[in-house]
Amino acid sequence: MTALVLAGLFRRPLRTALTVFSLAASVAVLACLVSFGQGYQGGLRTELDRMGMQLMLVPLGCPYDAAARVLKGRALESSLPAAALEVVRRDPAVAVAAPVYTAALVRQSENRTDLWVGIDESTRMLKPWWRLTPGSTWFAGPDRVILGAEAAAVELRRPGDRLYSPETRRELAVCGVLERSGTNDDSLFFVPLETAQRMFREPGRLTAVAIRLKDPSLVGGAAERLQRIPGAQVVTITEMMGAFLNLLGAARSLVLAISLVAIAVSGLSIFNTMMAAVLERTRELGILRAVGMSRLGAFSLMALESLILAASGGAAGLLLALAGGRAIESAVRPYVPLAPAAGLPSVTGQAALLCLALMALLGLTAGAYPAWQASRLRPADALRLE
């Protein structure tokens, strides 16, 4: 039976290859899409969990844009007065309120941006997982800098070295280097809050206040109280995550619809290939029936052929997704809001299983009618055909 099926598939190799290729392209898109979605959701949740906060106080404007900019260490066009920090710290539900001042220095010739983040001691309470490399110390005074692992690698700095900021004409002492965390912190330059405010000539101003509550269930009341601070607005991390996932979800639905249409078209292509195979091999099927093959046998022969065709397309599609997933990810990443620092997986096990199951179903469905036609052939009629 298997030999007959394979012989049938290789009888028209170009037609088989084209069908497999069309299936592979659709499966590759679907597999990448499902995997990226899962990876993005997981990565975003991990990154937001690792922020160690439930709320963020940002200047008035688009709250999600502001929060995303702060989380990514990008500069905001407006800022908060330092007095807002005192109000936040006085709130009974607040456990930790960490002031943040971020500024971006674009280095055009290098096609990169230096992200400077002013922080104080309270940030360490928000990020207890931060580990400093041996020889590092926390800020012991102004004009010190702690470098993220990636920033230290680019600047080739170690604790005890000097670092100069040409744009702000300030020389800083490298007091520490963070161990690699796989988050955006890796590429940042952390300086004492007052140093950052002086460097960027905004004394007493803040970009945001990151807030951890004594009890996460107090988020509603705390957000309502903090919302009353003039010129400020509160964003909850849950809201932020929801907003980003909604944004992603809309784009994902569109691409999912397109890839499902592509898979449906591929199903029609299998149907067409199998119908053509039945018509071409009517005489052969008649002989097989005449020498004793049952109706079920004829049905199984064509159904198996259709199934193998679909499974080959599915497997080839998964290989294509694995091979091209990185390229697709780097092309898509710039358009994904708050993309996790860790790479998105090209194909997850769950996505691969889903695609293979879908292909099996497609193969059986698309091959069912041609297989039924094959099983209905009467040997005498089939043999009469020239």
């Binding site: 280095r107 010739s109 290098e110 096609n111 690698a153 680019v154 600047e155 080739l156 700095r157 070295d161 000097r162 670092l163 100069y164 900021s165 040409p166 004409r169 020389e171």
Partner: protein, 212 residues
Amino acid sequence: MSGAVRAALAGLVAAGAAAAWVLSRPAGDALEVVDVRPIPGEPAMCPWRAPREDMAALFPDADRWQTETVSLARARRSILARLGPGGQIESNTLYVHRVFRGPRHAGFVMVRRFAGGHGGVEVVVGVDPDGRVAGVRVQRHREPPSAARVLARPGWLDHFRGKTASSALRIGSDLPAPSEPATATAEALARTVRSLLIELAESAPAGQTPHQ
């Protein structure tokens, strides 16, 4: 004794004999010793940020380039010997941009990042097909103005022209001593240029010059 066991024993004896023959040969004879141990903290490739501008300055009329990856594992011992005491190889891989003027090979460009006094400094070194420095440019640095004036100024960098892998590139003798704030970075730059020249020269197959 079954055939399979006999074949396995014969294989073991042959492998043992081969190992004994290899071990009995004097070191440095026909066998080549290749050091492929990974280098801790090996840096990633330093990008060539402005190839068009650098090519125009280092190899006028050059119109294209092609990046090649050269393994230094084979030449590691000879490179270290030429670098002298304290010399280090930071990577087992040398990235060489081969520059062309039409169909003709015009030279090489190598880019490397080194630790300057106040941050990473990226240097671009042009080498002509004879292995002589065609020019040196600093594509990125973080040095304060006192040091930047020296490093970014073509005047001081011009003294690298014509130097080869055999040049010691000592500050004060082969190259003029810059003013005090730039000395440490200038020395690091000279060391980096020398390392690149030696790595390029030594990475060529035996009996060939790097440009062949």
